[in-house]
Subunit: 125 residues, 2 copies
Amino acid sequence: MKSLSASAAPHASAPSCGAPDAFSRGLAALAHPARVEILRYLAGVDYCCCKDVVQRLNLAQSTVSQHLKVLLDAGLVRMSPQGQRSRYAVDVAALRTLCEAVGALATECAVRADEQGREMCRGDH
Amino acid sequence: MKSLSASAAPHASAPSCGAPDAFSRGLAALAHPARVEILRYLAGVDYCCCKDVVQRLNLAQSTVSQHLKVLLDAGLVRMSPQGQRSRYAVDVAALRTLCEAVGALATECAVRADEQGREMCRGDH
DNA sequence: ATCGTTCATCGTCTATCGGCGATGAACGAT
DNA sequence: ATCGTTCATCGCCGATAGACGATGAACGAT
């Protein structure tokens, strides 16, 4: 009953909460400076193997590989094995989609807040 | 808050990257379904105390308080103590700013990828 | 066949996250 | 003064993230 974490809610299923959706995974992937740096680096080079990122970021190769895997799972980069290397490339469309999702959330919040923003200062309920 | 660049601590022995900037904190705050739900709920009501969110989300009060604190630290919500309650409200401007930061990252990646996307054929396409 | 390179994965470690209950402070009402 | 309510914080716990080194597979070159 205590171990819910993402599956079993104590009482009833939580409202739209509890699933690691694409939105959450995408944002979580972006919520790390190293991964943002990887993305920007990937966009700036024509082809990119893991080694290049390692030299760029001054991190261990295994660490970089992990970060790339996170970005891959989030759908923000694509990978095509090429010989003994791995060609990584930014999925610009996915990045845009994620950006639009954030924008949609911001817009929704703005609209809903504006709909009744004037009476926010009543002080009672 | 235009500093998107991850400073990428040069030394690898550091446990973390050492630069939890506003961008990372904001995205990390959004990267949890419960917190997104809190944001949307906050935007939809004129007045909101912690208790309301607790009933809404079916989470323990302490858990909700933690989530609110995360959102607060990320600057996405504002809080004003009001009597024994705490009035929480979405900071729409901050949300927009964060959204624009994501957009800037997406645009930068798109531009840089487009600048040489056509000539990325070094050997094969 | 052998070697060097590249990369993904495994194991380990520490720090943090995310959940909870319990506690105490602050405040309004009785 | 006392009680009830609300909230933030603490301690605890399991799970995850993020770092590393080591290992082995895949591949090109010798």
